[in-house]
Amino acid sequence: MITKKKVMRKFVRAVWVFNWFNSCGFTELCPVVGSRWDMERFGMKAVNSPRKADALFIAGYQTPKSIKRAQQIYEQMGNPKFVFALGSCTITGGMYWDSYNTIKRLEDYLPVFMYIPGCPPRPEAIYDAVFKVFEHVEELPDK
């Protein structure tokens, strides 16, 4: 029987990440890939195609134009798939709250699995969020 736990364990074995980063989101999260914080030691890897990815990391402010592309990426990803929203700009518009061209509620556009606040979030916060996914899976019932 395929339980949710089994499906989630597939995801938890290794988290392959597709990044959709606008503006400063990319530069602020580069250290996560680098040797100092090194996300590969947790089995996380940035992949170059959404079809290979388990998780979608969204960072930076999203505009009505860019969120459409994010939706297309999300649709291309195979199940199970999870969206992580990184940073306040992505979640609520952040410091661009009064701009006419930013997204104010990300949950209207994509099913968000985890919100990681911060401007930008520290690498530790990202690992903490991913660790919570591991915990979440262990807490799921076996049946």
Binding site: T63, D98, Y100, K104
Partner: protein
């Protein structure tokens, strides 16, 4: 600037003034300004290009609200003279329309004009591709107009006062 360079610059100013049939002003070392009538824009740009100002840097617009006019500025760079020529022209703010210069600079001019059209609502006659560049699904007025209150528009269109998360935004001074 040495004396020889200064002499060269004054030469360009005189040459341009007679060629473009308008008074060219030497603003600083490398900046030349010329103000022309909006009907002569294609002619002037073509002449300037033939004189060596072959690189179109950008087209920018200024909204003069009190005057009721838009000012369009065409920035042309010359590798020959190492100077920037700004061609300025004013058009009516209520029915902003001007001839496109895509016959001279083709695709790049089209992109610049698309931007001006999107942000200021200026119509470029002869440019067939004036589709939105940055703003998709935009229903409001052109956002760069000075009489467009973007904060009021955003609060009205994109926020919900009933939502507890968004309530605080409505208390910000407008």
């Amino acid at each position: 600037m040495t004396a020889i360079e200064q002499e060269k610059k004054t030469d360009i100013v005189e040459k341009l003034s007679s060629e473009l049939d308008a008074s060219v002003v030497l603003k600083t070392d490398r900046r030349l300004w010329v103000t022309i009538d909006s009907s002569k824009v294609v002619d002037t740009c073509l002449k300037a290009q033939q004189m060596g100002f072959e690189h179109l840097s950008t087209i920018s617009a200024v909204d003069w609200l009190e005057e009721g006019r838009f000012e369009l500025v065409y920035h042309l760079w010359s590798y020959k003279y190492n100077s920037l020529l700004s061609i300025k022209t004013k058009i009516d703010r209520n029915k902003p329309s001007i001839s496109s210069i895509n016959s001279i600079w083709d695709t790049y001019a089209e992109t610049c004009e698309r931007e001006c059209h999107e942000l200021f609502g200026i119509d470029f006659k002869g440019n067939s591709n004036l589709t939105p560049l940055f703003l998709e699904d935009w229903k409001g007025p052109p956002p760069f107009l000075k009489d467009f209150n973007w904060r009021e528009y955003t609060l009205k269109e994109l926020y919900d006062e009933e939502n507890p998360r968004e309530k605080a935004y409505f208390e910000v001074k407008k």
